[in-house]
Amino acid sequence: MGCPIGGLFLSRLGGPREPISMGTLEWPDRASTKAGDSQKFLSCPALGMGLANGSGPDLPFEGWMQGGSAQSRRMDTKHKILLVDDDADFLDLYREIFRQLPCAPDIQTANSGARAIALLEAEPYRLLVTDLKMPRMDGLQLLAIVRRKFPNLRTVVLTSVVDEQFRSRVYSQGVDLYWQKPSAEREIEMLKDCVQSLLERNDNAGFRGVQSKSLVDIIQIECLSQSSCVLRISNGPLIGRIWINHGELFDAEAGERKGEEAFVHILSWKSGNFEILPAEPQREQTIQKSYNALLLETVQAFDESQAGGKASGTTAEGAPAAKDPIDQLEGLEFFIALKAGEPKPADARKIENPEGMTTWTRATLKRFRTLGDKLQVGEPDTIVGLSMKGHVSLARNEQVEFCAGWHHTLDALTVRRSIKQASALWAS
């Protein structure tokens, strides 16, 4: 994806405004936020203020934020790459190719999956590049093991297998890149660029230089710099849009919510992705408050609810809170959320004795995770069970497992879509 903040930064410099910038958003840790800390979010750290008063140095965003050029960091760290292929000639060839990378990585080779595992266990590597077709342990088996034992290791598949099914299965194992073995000089150069980019990518989630910035910060950046754009924020299946014209909040939309209500709702999402789309100056203004006032109100409301105000059931506007959107899902009969390692459900709605369903949910998800490993197709995304009396669906979102019952009149597709929506809503 490259540097996602690049688009943002270009707009500050008066450069071309490409339609899309993308990034990952994270809320500040609300658990550690005390009531009254709202102002902390709004006193935009160096990031926002530097941009507003133009005091930032003319460095690429990444260098400015992290205090040092990419060049100097390269000098400090020597990345380690492990190449795995049963063909010694290929290993020699790729060793030579990757030696030419600008970061001059340390390259080790293994001629089998078992040898690769042994090397990975012996010392930390930054990147694993593996073939698929290998005797005894093939690339898919190796990747399945690597995914479990070394979840932070970046992985590239370099293969002569041209098959969409294998490409799909490889990506379902969480691989970063799937490359057909290069046959021309240009392809080799492209491969080198991609591998170099993978090696340089920051370890932490989020975008380079502004990781852990909240949506509040992003909105402040846009408003302080008087820019015009549409922020498109996605959180699983939930999509929200915020219109900003000349640094003023104009409108917001999230599902059926509009205006301020939608804005408050979007800000309640803990994490997600954002894109900056071109401005829509003709958009009608529905938000009359200044962005500062609205952000302050919203964050204060969150602080209060964090401090125990949730029970009062009011929104930022002081109006009665809307019903929980999960309960509003069409045909929902019951809903259970289970956290890993906790025997009791973290949330159980519309069900009196969830023990039976809890046991079945855990056992079934575990059963089909095991099967997914054996078939090398990744973890189950959703499981839908249909019956004459009612349907049931299971899903997993990071460390939380979900089970929901649905009215029997719904079809399998709707049930699947709804459990995804319910799990995303619950996570938000």
Binding site: S168, L375, G385, S387, L413
Partner: protein, 105 residues
């Protein structure tokens, strides 16, 4: 050439997930199958075992499921309950899959 081939190493192969269906009875024996013979028998057995056990567990939890649909990123399994056995469809999902076909199933 035939003599030389005696000394050549066998080409490593990857197991391709088939598109097709098979029926198992309540004891797990495959009754009918449209899966290619190249698909390992032990994987067919694994799939049918997990599916039948999931149906049984559901029954014990008070749900008489008639159909289970398991969505993996690379495969969709549709299983219909058949008096303790199951009719199981396998649909590999590739990035270029015809999604409308997969959705119809």
């Amino acid at each position: 050439m035939g003599l030389l081939s005696l000394f050549s190493k066998p080409e490593p192969t990857l197991v391709r997930l088939p598109s097709g269906s098979f029926t198992v009875d309540r004891s797990g024996r495959v009754v009918v199958s449209t899966l290619p013979s190249s698909f390992p028998e032990h994987l067919t057995d694994e799939i049918s075992r997990h599916v039948r056990e999931a149906f049984l567990d559901a029954k014990e939890a008070g749900m008489n499921l008639s159909e289970l649909v398991i969505h993996y990123p690379g495969l969709k399994i549709v299983a219909r309950e058949l008096r303790g056995g199951a009719l199981i469809f396998l649909v590999p999902i590739s990035l270029a899959s015809n999604t409308s076909f997969i959705k119809r199933l």
